[in-house]
């Protein structure tokens, strides 16, 4: 974003309480971005524990993981992957629109991403419901669950935590993207929250890009 540096002299959110104006707008922009990247790093580390556990559990229970992954529906998973990739595209467009001061463009594109997120959650809940009917859900579990408990345990931990992040990402997009943009808050001089919301959304997508092949394809 260094090309935008010169235009950011007045990158101050209108109506912010005065006590946070303890640095100039250029510094505030840099601070916000650095803070967000650090936060994303902690998110990666959070999921790293799950990936690490997955690698080790798969090593111990290769057969079970292999069999277990056949019980997941590759088509639903694949469709969700496409949906999230599209949503990431629209989130990136929303940032460009914000940088151009196009508030309706931000609303429109974040709106598409938001709908994609909702679609992802609907499909995920269809998958979960199917598992529940087969007794492969932690609550109401039958022998089908216990046969694949190591695989399914990690499956639910990983996809569940990811789904939680999808929900948080949608809330963030709505509160910091769509709602202020409806009030024309963003301009070429101030768009930090849009950029940060999109960054978070990209990370949520990126994690799914790793989860999908790991759980559905490799097993």
């Amino acid at each position: 974003m260094s090309s935008n540096a010169a235009t950011l002299d007045h990158n101050v959110a209108p109506g912010e309480p005065p006590h946070i104006h303890h640095m100039d707008s250029q510094t505030a922009y840099g601070a916000a971005k650095l803070g967000m990247w650090l936060f994303l790093a902690t998110e990666v580390l959070l999921f790293a524990v799950l990936f690490c556990s997955f690698a080790i559990m798969r090593y111990y229970h290769l057969e079970e993981f292999h069999e277990g992954s056949h019980h997941l529906n590759v088509w639903w998973g694949g469709l969700n992957t496409i949906i999230l990739l599209c949503s990431s595209y629209w989130a990136a467009v929303a940032v460009t629109k914000a940088q151009q001061g196009d508030n309706p463009g931000v609303v429109r594109n974040f709106g598409y991403s938001f709908v994609c997120g909702a679609g992802f959650l609907v499909i995920k809940s269809i998958e979960y419901t199917g598992k529940y009917h087969h007794g492969m859900f932690p609550f109401g579990a039958t022998e089908n669950f216990y046969e694949f408990k190591n695989f399914l345990g990690l499956y639910y931990c990983m996809t569940g935590l990811h789904a939680l992040h999808v929900i948080i990402g949608m809330v963030v997009m709505f509160i910091y993207g769509i709602k202020p943009a409806l009030r024309n808050r963003y301009s070429a001089k101030y768009y930090t929250p849009v950029e940060l919301s999109a960054l978070y959304w990209h990370l949520v997508d990126l994690i799914w890009i790793y989860l999908f092949p790991l759980l559905y394809l490799v097993g």
Partner: protein, 543 residues
């Protein structure tokens, strides 16, 4: 600042303590200096609670067999006590100990900023801490007896409120992450003009290294603890061996955080000592660059030594050897620091004020901690010492002798700046003497007990350990009274003291002493401009 608050205090100096009044103005304040006090009061509650648990344990251990039947009626109660002591002291007191209190107060002041980068996030971190503390306190209603390490499979099968307790630790970790993140961004972005990286006071460098560990290591334990909850809720089969899980995996993930966390605890104390010694020796800090580098080196090497906690847990010979060798490496940057502190004092004109006494005690105690750490890093020796009182004593020399003494040293050193008053020097020295003697009397016998084979976490012992246990108990109470006196001295003089502190009572050169005592809400009247290195004592007119 509104005209109204100006008028209300027209007769006295306006500072951050009095520029707004009322309890709510404190609880809702985003001022980093006020948040320091919010944390300080919160952590002290758990310091006292954890301390009471420790004293009850020591009382129980003062004689063989059941000693205080009313309170410690069985081994379970004893297990609860050491769990409570560990969880409260580690997660609720020492981890936020220096960073969240003095880090909050000093980082913006020392780098010449008006506040941290994200003041509202800072307040949010505090309330996360309060939420975590509340969960932890509620969990003690159905008391957890796993020890602070929550090792599986006991933690995944016992029916006490482990889930709530580890959730509390998760929330506290989240608070710790956000504080660390805030400090990293603050140090990167908000340094005053001329405050280059190589002009940063060593406390800032130490806090920076600490913040990096907080941000990088904490998510790992957070997720691990969530997996413990998942295991308990629906048998995810990750840590419980009866379900095909791997308990050693849990230990690895736990120590991946919990070893670096001892550096979260002790690095800020290194920073504190690095500030105190040059001021009271009137000499520049010896080898500034090496002190800085060693802080970063400790943070880096600290990440690859975790499995030295697990030499007897069934890890492979190869990894045991690897972790043993890298553990020895930690001794190098730590020894560099000790060398630099001692060299700073060499031929200095030392004044033995209370902060300096604590700083010197720190150097001595930490040296004992470091050298006994070498024993435990040795594979063969550790097999013998593992889970004995030797480990308990070693750990307390690093954490109490290091982190807690560092915190007390810092509270005395920056007390004039924080409260605008001077503490009672005589009481402070007496308290120091009690604390130092009591501490050594508690833990030197424990080293010997450990060498004689006394295992930790038992509430009973054969009669040959009687004398040493009794000595240790006497020491613990002396130590406890030392803390009470030193803290009451500070609290009393802060509230009722008559002696006003000048701007710069120690003639220090760092930025926080150049503004008023206590500072104004915005820290500085005008943004300071820095044009020299931080410890130029004795080289200019200031000598």
């Amino acid at each position: 600042m509104s005209a109204h608050t100006h008028a209300a205090h027209a007769n006295e100096e306006v500072n951050y303590l009095n520029w707004k009044t009322g309890l709510w103005s404190w609880l809702s304040s985003t001022d980093h200096k006020r948040i320091c006090f919010l944390y300080l009061f919160a952590i002290m509650i758990f310091f006292v609670a954890g301390g009471i648990a420790a004293l009850l344990m020591r009382l129980e251990l003062s004689t063989a067999g059941p000693t205080i039947p009313g309170i410690v009626k069985d081994p379970h109660t004893y297990n609860v006590l050491f769990t409570m002591h560990g969880v409260f002291m580690i997660f609720l007191f020492v981890v936020p100990g220096i960073p969240a209190t003095l880090g909050n107060f000093l980082i913006p002041l020392m780098i010449g900023a008006k506040d941290v980068a994200f003041p509202r996030l800072n307040l949010f971190s505090f309330y996360l801490y309060v939420l975590g503390a509340a969960c932890g306190a509620v969990a003690m209603l159905n008391p957890v007896d796993t020890g602070w390490t929550f090792y599986a499979p006991y933690s995944t099968t016992t029916d006490t409120s482990v889930s709530l307790m580890v959730f509390a630790a998760f929330i506290l970790g989240f608070s710790s992450i956000l504080t660390g993140l805030n400090f990293i961004v603050t140090i990167h972005q908000l340094r005053a003009p001329g405050m280059t990286w190589m002009r940063l006071p060593v406390f800032i460098w130490a806090s920076y290294a600490t913040a990096v560990i907080q941000t990088v290591a904490t998510p790992v334990v957070g997720m691990t603890l969530l997996l413990v909850i998942a295991e308990r809720m629906f048998g995810a089969g990750i840590f419980d061996p009866s379900k095909g899980g791997d308990p050693v995996l849990m230990e690895h993930l736990f120590w991946f955080y919990s070893h670096p966390v001892v550096y979260i605890m002790v690095l800020p104390a290194f920073g504190v000592v690095g500030e105190i010694i040059p001021v009271f020796s009137r000499k520049p800090l010896f080898g500034y660059k090496m002190v800085v580098l060693s802080s970063m080196a400790i943070a880096a090497v600290g990440f690859i030594v975790w499995a030295h906690h697990m030499f007897v847990a069934g890890i492979s010979d190869f990894s045991a050897k690897f972790f043993s060798i890298v553990t020895f490496l930690v001794a190098v940057p730590t020894a560099i620091k000790v060398f630099n502190w001692v060299s700073t004092m060499y031929k200095g004109s030392i004044s033995f004020k209370t902060p300096m006494l604590y700083a010197m005690a720190f150097v001595f105690l930490f040296m004992v901690a470091g050298t006994t750490g070498i024993y435990l890093a040795m594979l063969g020796v550790d097999v013998y010492y593992h889970d004995t009182y030797f480990v308990v004593a070693h750990f307390h020399y690093t954490i109490q002798g290091g982190a807690v003494i560092g915190l007390i040293a810092a509270l005395h050193f920056w007390f004039p700046k924080m409260s605008g008053k001077m503490y009672n020097e005589r009481v402070a020295r007496i308290a120091f003497a009690m604390l130092f003697l009591g501490f050594n009397l508690t833990f030197i016998p424990q080293f010997i007990l450990g060498m004689d084979g006394m295992p930790r976490r038992y509430y009973d012992y054969p009669p040959q350990y009687q004398t040493l246990h009794t000595l240790s108990t006497v020491g613990a109470f002396l130590n406890g009274f030392g803390y009470i006196f030193s803290l009451l001295n500070l609290l009393g003089t802060a509230l009722f003291g008559k002696v006003k502190a000048p701007r710069n009572p120690y003639n220090s050169k760092s930025l926080e002493w150049q503004t008023a005592s206590p500072p104004i809400h915005e820290n500085f009247e005008t943004t300071p401009i820095v044009n020299e290195e931080p410890y130029n004592y004795g080289t200019h007119a200031h000598a």
